[in-house]
């Protein structure tokens, strides 16, 4: 399981995360990325984190409950 953390002070609304994983990330009305879910088992989150131009996404791997 992956816990997704977004540093909203860094996020500049490029939307690369929402392009890559629209089920997990979205841009709010202010243009800042937010997560639709707190955790996922989809490894695409690593692609989204790597694609973030501001390096605002951190993925923490957690053991499944």
């Amino acid at each position: 399981m992956y816990k997704i953390l977004i540093d909203r002070s860094l996020c500049s609304g490029f939307g690369a995360c929402a392009d890559l994983a629209p089920d997990i990330f979205e841009l709010d009305s202010g243009g800042t990325a937010s997560v639709r879910v707190g955790t996922t088992d989809d490894p695409v989150v690593h692609d989204a984190a790597a694609a973030c131009p501001m390096a605002a996404i951190t993925i923490v791997e957690e053991a499944a409950a």
Partner: protein, 192 residues
Amino acid sequence: MKDPTFWILARATGLTAYVLLTLSLLAGLVVKSRPFGRALKAASVVDTHRFLALLALGAIGLHGLTLTLDRTVHIGLSSLLVPGLSGYRPLATGLGVVAAELAGLVIVSFPLRKRIGLRAWRKLHWATYGVFALATAHGLAAGTDSSQPWAFSLYLGAVFAVATATAWRVFTRPIRPKGASRVQDSDRPLAV
């Protein structure tokens, strides 16, 4: 005989600024289109984009400084701030002044993006294309060297590179990994 040092420096810094501006624009264009895939980390490309933009701004500053120090064409400080005041090719010089001021505005807006609002900041960032177009027109019309084949090729190459990178950016969509997203519900979204 007049000392041509500052005149030569003005031409060199102008061309340097144009090359740096082009490279910065190209770096900015590959941030999201990612033509090199995972080979380049997006955050590193953004750092490079910003560094090149700051270098371009520095080169623009030196271009203006050397022009005011030069005695070949007599460009005063006011001519560098207000478009069209220069007695030397006023229209072409004015285009360069507008380009420089717009470039400064776009670059300075980055640390202020939260205050401006992300959507407004991103719209302002599109002005970079205006900066590039104005800088190209300025270089071709005002540049002493623009009639030289090497300099004309430089401008042509820059326009071609930016047009190609823009087309790539427009016509390619982000490549999503195969397989649908498997979302797990949780108590609430997390953000720091």
